[in-house]
Amino acid sequence: MREVTYDTIVEAVKRLCIDANVELGSDVVRAMQEAKSQEKSAVADEVLSQLLQNAEIAAAERVPMCQDTGMAVFLVELGQDCHIVGGSLYDAINEGIRRGYGEGYLRASIVQDPIQRKNTGDNTPGIVHVELVSGDTCTIHMTAKGFGSENMSRLQMMKPSDGIDAVEDFVVETVRLAGPNACPPVVVGVGLGGNFEHSAYLAKRALFRPVGERNQRPDAAELELALLAKINQLGLGPQGMGGRTTALDVHVELYATHIAGLPVAVNINCHASRHKHVTL
């Protein structure tokens, strides 16, 4: 049994929180540069230029690329031969958020209670999903999820007879309804299958995948490309001001489902598709 200490996790989470907010991933930057080369609209070209410039300033000055530094969401792939010592995993993650958001001058955007709505002041608590995997390592994926895009996400319990065409329509419609609010060009996470809550989890997990990386199953990869093409035909463009780049990528995640169901969840991410990971 390998041991990972509470303090190691706190330090790793702190770094993830700061880095995710100030350094736009090279996958996203590359996708945006490619999108810019294909835009014919002057406004779209200007918006993408400003977004790329924004990412450069943020990285150079170590300031957040966006003022909505998000709700901190974690996917922990915990090896079953890895033992966390010195405290609980959840406490370690929340302490890491507290230090990262404090020391990184990131915005505290979390309220303790959805009714009373008092800000906790340190961006805790985060959302933590743990998957038990084989091996003795602990991989922590983090995303700083802004709510401009989170608020525009949707879930639908479809019937099997609705078929994949209806799934496609629902995804495209969700992006259209999100319009400029979700800060396009967006990255679209689609969770297909499972049950009610698992489809939403799959959609979120899809956002951790690097932009440009396809699902390994050919039929799912084909669906991703078909969705991307349809979304980019909407004409919303960067910031909804017109153009061909409405989405940078679409990621579909699949899971087994019930004979009576076809759950589909769409979790939208803004152009600041922040995702970082570390393996301990």
């Binding site: 400003q50 924004n54 300033i57 300031v63 690329m65 966006c66 800060c183 919303l236 910031q239």
Partner: protein, 180 residues
């Protein structure tokens, strides 16, 4: 694509000439306010009170910046989604508010209010908080200190880049884009 240079507070004659899709750089003074500040302002007006800042003729920027690092004037300061302010906006327009800066589409009643009050709604680039912060020359909390990032700040900006979304003629850039 040409960029218009405008001073804030905005001048009515210049607002009248703005059209959806125009690129503008704003220089001068504006206020910040988002959800909680809007709710409070409208409650004060409805209770018959006066606002802590006179918004007549002014521009409000929907933003909740990150905390400033030592030596910085302000942290990242990009626009937040404007539609959350829609329920409060008609009251502020009736009090003489002339300009709004945010991102995303507005409700029908806000769009009508913009035409009636001869005001303008601009979008700044959502998520470009680091870039936009570079145009901010000074920032001072002027009301609702207790709201933290949601307090009302008075900002001085220089060549703050925006695009006209809704103009006094009912023009709407987002609708024009969707119908392409």
């Amino acid at each position: 694509m040409s960029v218009k240079q405008l001073a804030m507070p905005l001048i009515q004659e210049q607002i009248n000439e703005l059209r959806a899709g125009d690129r503008v750089e704003l220089t001068g003074w504006m206020y910040t306010a988002r959800d909680a500040a809007h709710e409070r302002m409208v409650e004060m007006v409805q209770a018959g009170g006066t606002l802590p800042v006179d918004i007549a003729g002014q521009t409000i920027y929907y933003v909740g910046p990150t905390p400033a690092k030592p030596g910085q004037i302000i942290g990242s300061a990009g626009p937040t989604t404007s539609s959350r302010m829609d329920p409060y906006t008609p009251v502020l327009l009736s009090l003489g508010l002339k300009g709004m800066i945010g991102k995303g589409s507005r409700s029908q009643s806000v769009k009508e209010g913009i035409v009636q009050s001869r005001a303008v709604y601009f979008a700044a680039i959502g998520g470009a908080g680091a870039l936009l912060a570079k145009t901010i020359r000074s920032a001072e909390v002027v009301a609702f200190h207790d709201l933290g990032p949601e307090a009302i700040y008075r900002l001085e900006v220089e060549r703050f880049p925006v695009i006209v979304i809704n103009d006094i003629c009912g023009g709407d850039l987002y609708q024009q884009s969707q119908s392409l």
